[in-house]
Subunit: 301 residues, 2 copies
């Protein structure tokens, strides 16, 4: 399973029981928390997501609606007796803020909190099954997007086709990697005659808070699912730009340019109670658009 669960879909001011930004990305047994607005620990309980499964947290930027729930979450993890290491990624000043908070409370966490300051674009986590990269977006302050990729899946062996060849374990590994086999007699077994392609590797890009940024399309090109903020409807394009935010139409244009499979929009201004118009405006430009709704898990396919 690869998917993203929305815990908060509102912009700065909480309203209409919509919460500030937080998402959980699930990739098989792994769970990643992306941003952590105020109330995230309560939202995790509400949607029955186990805090203990989260070993990586990614913070996009240091506006409060994206991380004011973090001190509560990391101290609650401690109170619940967590011992597993926790990896936290975000802008450098976050370290000092958390240090001051923990020191004032005279709190020593019972687990190791590794803080990884994000300072340049590139790979942050590179594991066997997945990778996480970061890319810079343009907001009023330093702000980072995150790109989650499952690793390229090995090709599937066609058992029937392979039987006559008496292959060993090394041969099978080479075939799964897409390579041909050359026998001692010089004969070549072409990969595509005995394997079939597995499903393509999927990816999810979270582009955080950003002004309309054409270059973003290069950074998230061809991803399976792009989350792009739409703080405002298209009529408020000027206001969006003045506040380093984007509109429905702009998010849909980025999705089109980047050739993504589908688009998820969120970070709605508390100006708007109903959200239908967001979906309507974005879908007119990019039909495969969905609204980020709290508690809903969007599968990445």
């Amino acid at each position: 399973m690869f998917g993203v669960t929305i815990l908060g879909n509102n912009s700065a001011l909480p309203a209409y029981d919509r919460h500030p930004t937080s998402q959980v990305v699930t990739l098989d047994q792994y769970q990643f928390l992306v941003d952590c607005g105020e109330g995230t620990q309560m939202q995790l309980s509400r949607y029955k997501i186990r805090r203990s499964r989260i070993n990586h947290i990614f913070i996009s930027h240091l506006h409060g609606d994206h991380y004011f729930g973090l001190p509560g979450l990391i101290t609650s993890m401690g109170l619940l007796g967590r011992e597993t290491e926790l990896h936290l990624f975000g802008p450098s000043p976050l370290q000092n803020i958390l240090d001051c908070i923990l020191q004032a409370a005279d709190t020593t966490l019972p687990y190791k909190l590794h803080f990884h300051p994000v300072t340049e674009e590139g790979m942050l986590v590179d594991e066997e099954k997945f990778s996480v990269e970061t890319f810079r977006v343009t907001h009023r302050i330093e702000c980072w997007g995150y790109l989650f990729r499952e690793k390229k899946k090995p090709r599937k062996i066609n058992k029937e086709a392979v039987t006559p060849y008496h292959l060993n374990a090394t041969d099978f590994e080479l075939l799964k990697e897409g390579k041909d086999i050359t026998f001692k007699n010089g004969q070549v077994l072409k990969n595509e005659t005995v394997t079939v392609a597995n499903k393509p590797a999927r990816s999810y890009a979270y582009s955080a808070d950003t002004i309309y940024l054409e270059s973003l399309a290069d950074k998230v090109r061809n991803v399976s699912l792009l989350y792009h903020e739409t703080t405002y409807l298209k009529a408020l394009e000027e206001r969006a730009a003045a506040r380093f935010h984007a509109t429905t139409a702009q998010a849909a244009q980025i999705a089109t340019k980047a050739n993504v499979d589908s688009l998820l929009i969120g970070h709605f201004s508390s100006k708007y109670e109903a959200l239908d118009e967001f979906l309507k405006e974005a879908s007119e430009i990019f039909p495969k658009t969905q609204l980020a709704i709290e508690g809903v898990t969007y599968r990445i396919i």
Copy 2:
């Protein structure tokens, strides 16, 4: 109207839709926020309490469940265009924490935030209609209780009794203050013959997080309403002491010793889902006890 509205009644870990500590004390047109756990700004919206009416915030101590909602609240007040000065009282390290957070967000509040570090017991606010004092309690870290008093009410003039004396405005003021009037001919008009006492001044003491502390009774003597934490039922007295918290029985003993009119108990451990036993245990010792329930306003009479 003098009363306290509960926004959060749970201890460190939010549970069963109970939130971390926060209360609003209302005294006629004044509203004071006492502690500000994570989610307080959402709780204020939920219970329709206008943020704009709050001009004083009092923080007892720097454990997260008592102030992690503060950065969100003060930045939201700014986003909503607040211009009125805000007075914040709490332990000294709070200033640096807030400074770091505002600096990282590149936020300049549109209103003046006056931080008043609490460093010794005594008077914090002394206005015409009310006063707020602070007193030290004993917790794992520096912790302060707050005592809200309405000012002594002037005596009421008995209009019928006073008519024959042809008094001027100064005479009326002296009578309201409880003084006698001496006429030019040396004749004395005794105060009690023409006035009656108004209702006695009421008071509310919030004793924050504290271990059982006999000396607390002196600090909150005779208050109209005492809020005392009861993190645990009486069976867990040892655990309470080890964690610098109190039990139902201990809160009720303090209320008895202090001769308060009534007792409000809260800060319930997330160990407990049902709260009936808290009320039962405390009431057996101090009958005029109430449970602090979120969204309920307890009138101080």
